[in-house]
Symmetry: C3
Subunit: 181 residues, 3 copies
């Protein structure tokens, strides 16, 4: 569907804005293709992910995609990669170490709303802090529930649901996640 056609009969300035946004996108898309061999969502070509990390006071060398939602009190160390489609919920406090890989689609929650929903809004949200050590790999689409502590060097397989704590160097996977091998 041609977007410009959708603006026929509307104010001229809106058509101009749409055209300028499209030109801006085209230039940035071309530069990203040429310099970084990649194609990203519009907001990620507009804004830098190291700047987002800096705005959030995360550590040196850490980067965060535009589509990451950050809530409440979240502390992240150095050189950690936070992918797109992520949720870092620090409403009950969240701490993440250095050199972690928070893969695309990972959600880390420090609150939960099961009882809120089933009580029809009567029961309050519940909070518990989450801590992730240094050098942890959290695989794509994994969910970390409130109250979990993961030690240093943990590896969480893709698509896992982690609802209890694990010590340093654990390799876990599954829903709920269990030690593997």
């Amino acid at each position: 569907m041609n977007r410009e056609d959708l603006l026929i009969g509307k104010e001229e300035k809106l058509l101009s804005l749409l055209k300028e946004l499209t030109e801006l996108k085209t230039i940035l898309d071309n530069q990203f293709k040429e310099k970084l061999t990649r194609n990203l969502p519009f907001a990620d070509v507009l804004f830098d992910r190291w700047e987002k990390a800096k705005f959030l006071n995360f550590g040196e060398g850490t980067s965060v995609y535009d589509s990451c939602h950050v809530f409440g009190n979240v502390v992240v160390g150095k050189n950690t990669w936070v992918g797109p489609f992520t949720i870092l919920d620090g409403s009950g406090r969240l701490q993440i170490g250095d050199f972690c890989c928070i893969s695309a689609g990972v959600h880390i929650y420090s609150h939960e709303t099961v009882n809120w929903a089933t009580s029809g809004g009567e029961a309050p949200y519940e909070y518990a802090p989450v801590q992730i050590g240094d050098r942890c790999y959290i695989g794509p689409h994994s969910i970390i529930a409130s109250g979990v502590v993961l030690g240093d060097g943990c590896v969480v397989g893709a698509n896992s649901f982690v609802n209890k704590s694990f010590p340093n160097n654990s390799r876990i996977a599954g829903s709920p996640a269990k030690e593997i091998r």
Copy 2:
């Protein structure tokens, strides 16, 4: 990568637009940090999630993040929270009750395309309506398939794939989802 540098030699008005978008983002990000202690994707700081729900004729008190995709005929009740990265597919009709929590990453489908793909586009899409009762909690990244009916007060664990119906107050999890406890 400095975005302004990427516009060197291009039209001046595009550099102005990029600068204004960046300033707008910075102001809104600062206000969200100060007033709501959160940092959201650009489109979510620009646009209100209660306004999106209102535009869709969803019930009073319901909110929907910008990254939610809504297709076809979708009816949602009051005070329901629809998170980011969600899909509400009403191409075969979808109804959701009051006080539900549709967690981040939930996809609810009322059509499917398995046969379309494997037949090389020969077979048509298939449709079947989906219904979710009141006070349901659908955990993050869960998928509800076409034809499913969930009663009131159901809890669906994170990362579940729900492909059959369950009565009121069911607690289910897994792929495919089964009653738990």
Copy 3:
């Protein structure tokens, strides 16, 4: 939270920009509602998904949502549907055939970073190419790991984690994915 109120005392041109973006969104949202019975994220009402596919040199009839992240060397055939919240990682090369359905939330990786993270950034990223045949259906939220080859006509169930190769017409599901039926 009224966004315009958040700009009180700031430069007039930023308030104008916010108003124009909001008007543009409202017009496009109304047109999408009327003509396509759908409501999409802001970037997807601004930009066309067939144009994104064309920019990426994907085949005729293929479409790609704005929120798809494309990295490195990715080749996609004709009439393939690539949904929102997807990752097509061709950093180690990725090839996808015709008439595939790459459902929402699917991540296809041709690199991995487990050892990078657990070694504190010492170990390099690891790469291996991925190939997906024609007429494959990859269910929502499924992850395809580096090195995987899927033949033609494969069906991958929702929420699966595919870490080995499967021949033509395989029906697989689970984490890790196994043949079903």
